[in-house]
Structure formats: structure tokens, C-alpha cells
Symmetry: C2
Subunit: 312 residues, 2 copies
């Protein structure tokens, strides 16, 4: 498949979704238009799981956590008595998912044993470079959405600053976000564990400690935006109910706003799910999107390709 | 006094401090030099109180807090029984300072009564636009350091991203940092209180709640840098022991690094203080600066002017 160099969104089919994006951005940069937005306010925020890359059969960071648990499980016979950790050792994702966010946090915290932030980054870097998705057998970083990569580039070419606002760990995403999305670490917000400074004989280190610092999900998303960015976004993209407060917060600002959702409608090329899904449930936010006329991207209808490798 | 347009640091006297800055930046941008730094890594961090503006007779945010306490004191007769709050009502700064960081935090938290972040920003905006320093009778924002404004501009002209890393409140600084320093809110880190998202009938709000979220001081500074920026700075400026961990963290990175301190040596034009001062104590960090050859800016010797109004 060829990409059209003159079209910044060449993997998007013509239609209302593509049209709404182009119309918003074109008027944002047109200094005498009603939709004009000063460059300093051109903040665009994106959820990650299910919005910039796939999230099935489970959030990709869970695959990382399970792998790390399995690597050290033989040093932790006591984990056998913990249903969640035991499920991780057995590779039983369904049991972990059934436990919800609490189970995921428990997994993540159990892995922390006084390692430095640099050691953690090295572990993520090693894993992300070789681990493959159980169904597609692609690298996880190959399972990003080509149309969204084009959207990120298009926004940046028009002086928007693109941010990730993710429920997953910010230390996990920052390792590869610059290379894969062109989003530098300082523009990645996510959930985090507490970190402690220590001056050792061979120099200072930051130590990860097994306590939650911040959960950047649902109501945490606008809170995180306030804390990290300190300005209200004008453009927001998500895919689930977990993004709804971020969308409400974005939409409620004065002046032109863009709110968009990726609707996973393509069971052939990706996955089809919404109201009933445990991962990426899209129910209340779907109602709101209809009611408020927010852009609803129908993956099947709107996207010529899903993944970059389809272009090869 | 005339500024020299050809000299990006025209308020700096010639000497080792100015020389060390110019040498570092010139080689950072020279792609075939040993000191070259890729633009993505050009992160420069600055303490605020005592580094970018004055901090005597007490951190300027305390003046704001005292004023706000006094505004509502008659609705709070119970404050008379609280030594710190009572000191604020009486305008007794010495008593507040004697209580250290704990007293300052107590003041700041006592002011919070379910206001929105937008209300708080409006209060800061109103105050900063009219409140005057008790000695100089200048606006607080006129008491920023002209040589440091030049340094911020010089760094940005060379593709450094300039950040503030302050022990004071991030919501306090962000209101005016872009106008005064050219540093946008998303590049201001500071101490923070917890914030809660609420969807009200007339739209979503963020409510400030009277609990500490993060203290961005001493060991908190490198932790904050990790959390907000996710990259180690290559350039750091501070003025007190509270900045030492940030300096150690910056200096310990691989490759070229710049670490500088403002030494308050000018009792005529500003204030002279270091090892014995309650505010901005500069003792251990002063020893370290000598020992490690970090740049030590002697305000009296190195700066032609202190404040921008001296140029008029």
C-alpha cells in the first residue's frame, strides 16, 4: 500500500472522523479564524492502551509484569499462597483480570525489591525489544495504530504538544515512547510508584519503593493533567470509560475543543469490543460521545490500515 | 545602563562564572565537540526562591499565605489558639519561620476550604499583580534576577528546555512563570496539595484538598525531576542546601554537566547570607561547590545589575 505524501492522514478513509480532525486543526492554526488557538495552548492528550496501541487480550504492561514475576518466582515460594501472584506464575491472565485494577497494582508492587529506576528502565527496554504478542506474534511496539501515528505527527507539525495520559505505568511507557510515538518522556503521564533518593558511596540513585504514588486513571486523569501540565488540553483522544473525566475536563474549557474516541469495531483486523469488555470498557463514554457529538472513530470504517506493518 | 545586544549575558561581568556558562553552552551545541549534547537531552533546571528571584526577608509565597490568612481570619476565631495561624494573623513572620517547613505547610493547608484550582489561580493572579515587597516596595515579580533572565533566554536560544524545580507551590508559580520567566506551566515543578475531580451540575471542577501531595524540596527535587521529566538534567542552578540532591543527581549523569549556585554576597543591592541563614541556608552545598569545582556565582562580583528595574 502506498501512502499519500500530500495527505497527512493518509491511512484514514474519507469521512466524518477524518473531516472533523482536519477541520479542527486547520482552524486552530488560522489566526483569523474563530477556531484559532494560540500555540501555547495547543496541548493534545492521548490515552495509550486501546488508543495508541492495542490492549487485547490484556493491557500489554501486564504481559511484562507476568514475565518479570515468572523470572524470580523460584526465589519466592510464598507467592504460591497469593492467588494473584500464583496466577501470574501460572500465566493465568483471566484470573488476574478478574481482580481488576487492584490485582494489577498488587502485581506491579510485588515486583519491586529496592531496584533503582535505571535498573527498571533497563528491564523494560530489554523486554520491549523482544517480547511478542501471544496472538499476532508481533513485537508489542509493532501493534501501535498507524492512523494515530499520523495524527500525532500531523498535530506536532501544527505546533501542538502531544502528551500521553495513561493508566499504565509512566516508567514503563517512557522507555520507548520517544522512539515509537515521537513523544518524549517529559510528555508522558501515567500511574507511578513512590521513588526515594539515596546518596550511595558510588553516587546518587533513585530507588523504587512498593507503594502507589498516583493512579492516573478515570478521575486521576484530569488530576494528573493539572499536576503535570497545569493547563487544560484543547484536544483529547481516548477509547474507554476510563478516559471520560479527561474528556469532560477537556470539553468544558472555553473556546474550540476536540474530543475523540477510538471505537474498537474491527474483529477481523484488531478486536471488536465496547460495553461489555473487562479491558477498555466503552459504555458510559460511548453514550456521552453520541449525546455530545464527539468524534467517534469507527476503526473498521475509518482506518485503511490498523498497524504500520500492513503498509510494508 | 545599556544592554549589549551582541552579548547574551550582558548583565554578567566578565570572569569565571560567565566564562563557565558560555563555555558549557557553546560546546553543548557544537556537534563535533566533546561537550556536545543532543537537543533532546538539553534539560536545564532552576530552583526559584533565591535563584531566580529574591527570598528575603522570607519566601515570597509566605507573604501571599499571610495575606490570605488575614483576609479570612475573622471567620476563624479558632485560629487564635493555633500559634502559627495566630502568628500569620498578627503578621509575625519570625514566628512562622521559626517553625520551618512544617509551619509553612500548615499555613498553606489551613487556607484550603474546598476552593477550585481556578479560584486559587485567580487569587494568586490578583495578589501577584499588586502586592509589594515590604523593603523595596517593588512588585515581587520585579524582584527577579536580570542576569538569570538573560541566562534562561540564552539557554532557550540554544535549544535547552528550561524548568523550575521549586520547594514552593507549583500552583503558585505557574500563574506568572510564563509571563515573567518565559517558562510555561508544564515546565514548572513544585510542591503540591492534593486535588480531586468533581463533576458538578455546571461542569467539572478540580477541588484543592488540605493534604500534602508532594514536597518538592531537598531529596524531593530529584524525585520530582524523575516523576515529571523522566530524564536527568544536564544543567542545574540553585542557591541553597535544599538544592544539593538535585545537583548531585545532575552531576552524576554521564557526559557534560553544568552545576551552578547563586551565592548571595551582596548586602547592598540584595542580601548577604549563606551558612547561618534560616531561609536559603547555603552550607553543605557551599562546601560541595568548592570541593567539586561547581560554578559559584558571587552576586556582588559577577552581576552588573541584580533586578531588571536597575536597567531603566
Amino acid at each position: 500500500m502506498k501512502t499519500d505524501l500530500a495527505d497527512p492522514l493518509s491511512s484514514w478513509n474519507e469521512g466524518p472522523s477524518k473531516e472533523s480532525i482536519l477541520r479542527f486543526v486547520e482552524s486552530a492554526v488560522e489566526s483569523d479564524s474563530e477556531g484559532y488557538i494560540h500555540p501555547k495552548n495547543r496541548i493534545a492528550v492521548f490515552d495509550n492502551d486501546g488508543t495508541l496501541w492495542s490492549e487485547k487480550p490484556f493491557y500489554f504492561q501486564i504481559a511484562f509484569a507476568i514475565k518479570q514475576i515468572q523470572l524470580v518466582a523460584d526465589q519466592h515460594p510464598e507467592w504460591a499462597d497469593d492467588p494473584i501472584l500464583n496466577a501470574a506464575v501460572e500465566g493465568d491472565q483471566a484470573a488476574i483480570l478478574a481482580g481488576g485494577v487492584r490485582a494489577i497494582v498488587h502485581l506491579a508492587l510485588s515486583l519491586i525489591e529496592g531496584e533503582t529506576t535505571e535498573d527498571f528502565e533497563a528491564e523494560v527496554h530489554e523486554w520491549i525489544g523482544r517480547a511478542r504478542h501471544p496472538d499476532s506474534e508481533k513485537l508489542y511496539t509493532e501493534m501501535v495504530f498507524q492512523p494515530m501515528l499520523e495524527l500525532l505527527n500531523y498535530l506536532r507539525a501544527n505546533e501542538f504538544r502531544t502528551y500521553i495520559i495513561s493508566g499504565s505505568g509512566l516508567e514503563f511507557i517512557r522507555v520507548w515512547s520517544e522512539e515509537i510515538y515521537g513523544i518524549p518522556p517529559e510528555q508522558v503521564l501515567g500511574s507511578s510508584v513512590r521513588v526515594k533518593y539515596e546518596l550511595r558511596d558510588d553516587g546518587p540513585v533513585l530507588i523504587r519503593i512498593p507503594e502507589v504514588d498516583f493512579i492516573d486513571d478515570v478521575e486521576g486523569k484530569p488530576v494528573g493533567i493539572h499536576k503535570f501540565i497545569g493547563r487544560r488540553p484543547v484536544f483529547a483522544f481516548g477509547n474507554s470509560d476510563g478516559d471520560l473525566p479527561m474528556m469532560q475536563w477537556t470539553a468544558a474549557g472555553e473556546g474550540p475543543r476536540f474530543v475523540g474516541f477510538v471505537h474498537h469495531t474491527d474483529g477481523e483486523r484488531e478486536w471488536a469490543y465496547d460495553r461489555e469488555s473487562k479491558i477498555g470498557r466503552f459504555d458510559k463514554a460511548l453514550d456521552q460521545a453520541h449525546m455530545r457529538g464527539w468524534t467517534l472513530v469507527d476503526m473498521k470504517r475509518d482506518w485503511k490500515v490498523i498497524y504500520p506493518f500492513e503498509l510494508e
